[in-house]
Amino acid sequence: MRIVFNWLKDYLDFKQSPSRLAEDLTLFGHEVETIERVEGEQVFEIEITPNRGDCLSVLGIAREVAAMYGLPRPVIPRTTIFNKPLQKKVRVDVNPFWICPRFTARIIDNVQVAESPSWLKKRLRAYGFRPVNNLVDVTNYIMVAVGQPLHAFDYDKIGSIGNAKLMRIRQSRKDEMVVTLDGKKRLLPEGTIVIEDQNRIYDLSGIMGGFDSAVDEKTKTIILQGAIFDPVLIRKASKSLNLTTEASYRYERGVDYEGTVLGVDLATALISSLIPQAKAGPLLDLKFEEPKVSPITFSTSQINQLLGTKLTQKEIQQSLKRLGFVVKQNQAVPPSYRHHDIKRWQDLAEEVARINGYSQIPLHQLDKKESKKTTQPYFLIDFIKDQLVALGYDEVYSYSFVDGKILKLLGLFDDEIVEVIHPLSPETRYLRPNLLSSILRHIERNNWAPEIKIFEIGQCFTKKKEFKQLVIAQTQKPSQQILRFIEKLSQAHAFGFVRVEQPILDALKIRRPVWTVQIDFEKVDRNLVLPSYRPSLLEQKVIFRPISKYPPTIKDLAFIIDKDFASEIVAQTIQEIDSRIILVEVFDEFISERFGTNKKSIAFHIWMQDPQKSMKEDEVRVILESIITMVAKKYQARLRGELI
């Protein structure tokens, strides 16, 4: 909802600056997302939550601001309307009543369609409306002002019954159509609220006016309508027609039953001031069904118990009164504009908390309770992850979606694949039936990596079931250690690594052998996890270094070095030499007499990147030379072999 700051000030006198108000409203439950300058006005973009249809107007926000600051109710200046009886008449039939519980309207004769004055156009533009003409602009302006959707029908375009124009409000039947204002012919879903005369449907009520009854340059007389329509029917039609308008948006969220007359009167007054010769007819106000309002009973102790506060009954009553509730003892009746969302005492509690400030809620400690044992089934996942990491495997995450091409390539495309309907992007159409497809993509994406050992644990899907799987993939022959671990995961089943077939690797442009194994979790021995096991936690916080969109260059260096220097320390030193070194990986480390007493060899993969481009060979060489110099100096180490 957009709120023009000065428009708000028209209805309520307050001192706070726009930025102060924005912060206060946010803490009051209406998050101000941005403040923009439009047409020289400060305009707030406020997130109004779907339960607060009453806040979709300047008046609605003014009411909230008044309650928040403890100010008197906002007032909209109203001019007296001098209505005269007119010859022109309208007959309104509603069936069934609940679809349109209240219908308020006025005939305005002798109107002249023209451009709106600039102040009006400016305000509408600041809100985001494109000005059309004085009549349409007034209906839009008053809707934004007080929240009551309004519509102006061209009186002469509507068919008569006897001496009156006929407005028969009913639900549409199968295969009925209406042409809306925008010229589009729309097939109506059954049950949509429409208005018709003896000949045709001429209005898509609460959503968009009909083309056949629309105001144009020749319009002389209008029927100005401010009605209440059933929110659920409006929502259904709007969804089904894929048509959301300023009116339907408000109707879906609930319009104030007691606000129709204000809306119609304000619009009549504004039209009369813009078109001095216009003649307003008497107010037509038909209440077909009145809302049932019953008081909500609350207790001070219940509210305090829920909030953790120690408010007195008087403080609770005062808070509710500030928001327009009528409070007697322990009963509260919400104001008519809050009937849609205030239904039980818990709702009252929230209102009380809002007025007193969420920040004022005293903090409470939960009772001490230890129950780690029951988490054990979940720890199985952590346990397996920790074991694999210890064996040198990197964990990857991939999306649960998979593309159709790779499914076909792997021979997995069948009737059991779960499919998403209307995905926003084609990549999110199929759900993975196993993890192999995802992990092979990861191998391909890391083609530059010297060796790859990765795993993923995640959910897989078929129409019949959802299950958890572990997949491991690697570009080197599996070691004895990993084979043993896989065997241990389940005593009963023999799981073996397999080599991915060459045609599959070729199709994925993977140019080295890949071994892989998949294990369904339901087959894993749950007793693997010892009761004493705790997942390992990050020891030191890592600060991420952005990665380049250009491929990295990876070079290997091995040093002969005193065995007392830890490889991680040396790696750290190398890392700090140049910002283009993104990773330093130790891949080999061993002690041998042939390097001299107390000496060892450490080999590193040096990953280098440039954020702007691919790295040139001479740039790489310069970095490697400075690494060699630095490591030699700092650790009295020498390079094994030669720099190539």
Partner: protein, 229 residues
């Protein structure tokens, strides 16, 4: 040589560790959920606009890719015939059918929590969650709470924390379990109070590690993953 645990796994572990120390038990739910558990059971009727807040992936067999881990709350309680008091924490993957950019993704992780006990109140909830944020970002971090609407809680709230240069950032949504939700769990709302929250893992993790693109963790790029040793 040691491999690397994915940063999402690491961050989820840190988070779960905090809540486990507060007596919460980790439970998981399915990623494909029925419409009832994802929406209706949580007091989000089809007829109300609160249903539109989330762009939902629907499967061709009429189910949904869960839009939040809250979807698992009612299921877990019913399937395990849980009776209060209990404290549960539900980590997992969620989905929204929306376009992606460095700050939005169609796939993300959430950690939902629910405790149902006698005498729980908003003060317990705020304190617990404040402690969580402080456990990650230090006790000097500025935190605020403000009213917010979620159909499954009443009263409802959002928690924000303050970031230098970026201002207030929403971290999580929370509130007192709505009576309708407790009833759907076959719990008497007049006897028991529930605290509930849901927090988005990905964005919080981005702040924690200073990651610049929300999609990076799902690319499998080893230049990214190997940094988190």
């Amino acid at each position: 040589m040691k491999g690397t645990l994915h940063p999402l796994s690491q961050f989820i572990r840190l988070s779960l560790d905090y809540f486990e120390r507060q007596g919460f038990v980790v439970v998981e739910g399915p990623e494909i959920e029925t419409e009832w558990f994802d929406f209706d059971a949580l007091n989000v009727p089809k007829t109300h606009p609160s249903r539109d807040v989330q762009d939902t992936f629907w499967t061709n067999d009429g189910r949904v890719l869960r839009t939040h881990t809250t979807a698992s709350d009612v299921r877990i309680v019913l399937e395990n015939r849980l009776k209060p008091p209990f404290r549960l924490i539900v980590p997992g993957r969620c989905f929204r059918n929306e376009a992606t950019d460095p700050f939005h993704n169609h796939t993300f992780y959430q950690i939902d929590g629910i405790a149902v006990e006698k005498g729980l109140n908003m003060g317990h909830l705020i304190n617990l969650l404040k402690g969580y944020i402080e456990s990650l970002f230090g006790s000097s971090v500025r935190i605020r709470v403000r009213p917010h609407f979620y159909p499954f809680v009443e009263p409802g709230m959002d928690m924000d924390f303050f970031l230098e240069n970026r201002g207030w950032r929403e971290v999580l949504g929370a509130g007192m379990a709505h009576p309708v939700v407790l009833q759907n769990m076959k719990i008497n709302p007049n006897q028991w109070q529930g605290i509930m929250w849901g927090l988005g893992v990905d964005r919080l993790m981005m702040e924690y590690f200073k990651i610049d693109d929300i999609r990076l963790p799902y690319t499998g790029d080893l230049r990214f993953i190997k940094q988190f040793k």
